[in-house]
Amino acid sequence: MAVEVRLPNILRPHAGGQATVSTEGSTIGDVLKALVADYPGMAGQLVTETGEMHRFVNVYVNDDDVRYLDKLDTKVTDGDTVSILPAVAGGGF
């Protein structure tokens, strides 16, 4: 399945500055693997060594957070937009 991936600012340097890239895969896991294959600088920033989604990264398929779907096994279809955004958090202490 061909999907468009919107990259957060922090990952764009690894993709030659592109904000949006195209890639293929049947699941989110496939899409993220394909991204790392195309742009090796992203290795380790999206999926942990144990094969889980990185805690500080949020991934959406269109409007849906994949953590509430099937996580890395979430299926994607042709024309889907995958958005990757960093978690934004902090605190007073």
Binding site: R6, P8, N9, I10, F56, N58, Y60, D63, D65, S83, L85, P86, A87, V88, A89, G90, G91, G92, F93
Partner: protein, 138 residues
């Protein structure tokens, strides 16, 4: 690189107002504008999913909506603001450890005293550098 963060007056008011509205929890949100000139012309108040007076988590779905809205307006998300309800307007160790983007501006709104204190910082490789906040007249 632009020296300091320029806040449109309305953005400043919306940002501080949202932080007060969030009490007793920390309030938070995103700033949109032109990263090249550090001009923040849009405030995106978001929910604090942590619902805490000590920590904040920007609602990821709100971030997605803000990111899309900013892009549609020819802008980008250039920073985040959050309040410290009882401490100084200075990044905490938690703020530094979880700063998601070295290009962003990190705005702190302290509500400790009667008058709010607003300060802005760059956080790069764990190092904090304060920058001037310039309030634009409009």
């Amino acid at each position: 690189m632009a020296d300091g963060l320029h806040l449109a007056r309305l953005v400043y008011l919306q940002m501080v107002g949202h932080c007060y509205d969030g009490l007793p929890d920390e309030g938070c949100g995103l700033l949109g504008g032109d990263p090249r000139t550090a001009q923040a012309s849009r405030c995106y108040p978001t929910d604090n999913l942590a619902h805490s007076s000590r920590i904040y988590t920007v609602d990821p779905k709100a971030y997605l909506a803000a990111d899309r809205d900013a892009e549609a307006r020819g802008m980008a998300i250039l920073g985040v603001f959050h309040s410290h309800t009882h401490t100084d307007a200075y990044p905490s160790p938690t703020d530094v450890a979880q700063a998601p983007d070295p290009d962003w501006h990190y705005v702190l709104v302290s509500l400790r005293d009667i008058a709010p204190v607003v300060r802005s910082y760059r956080i790069v490789d764990g190092k904090i550098r304060e920058e001037p906040v310039v309030l634009d007249s409009q």
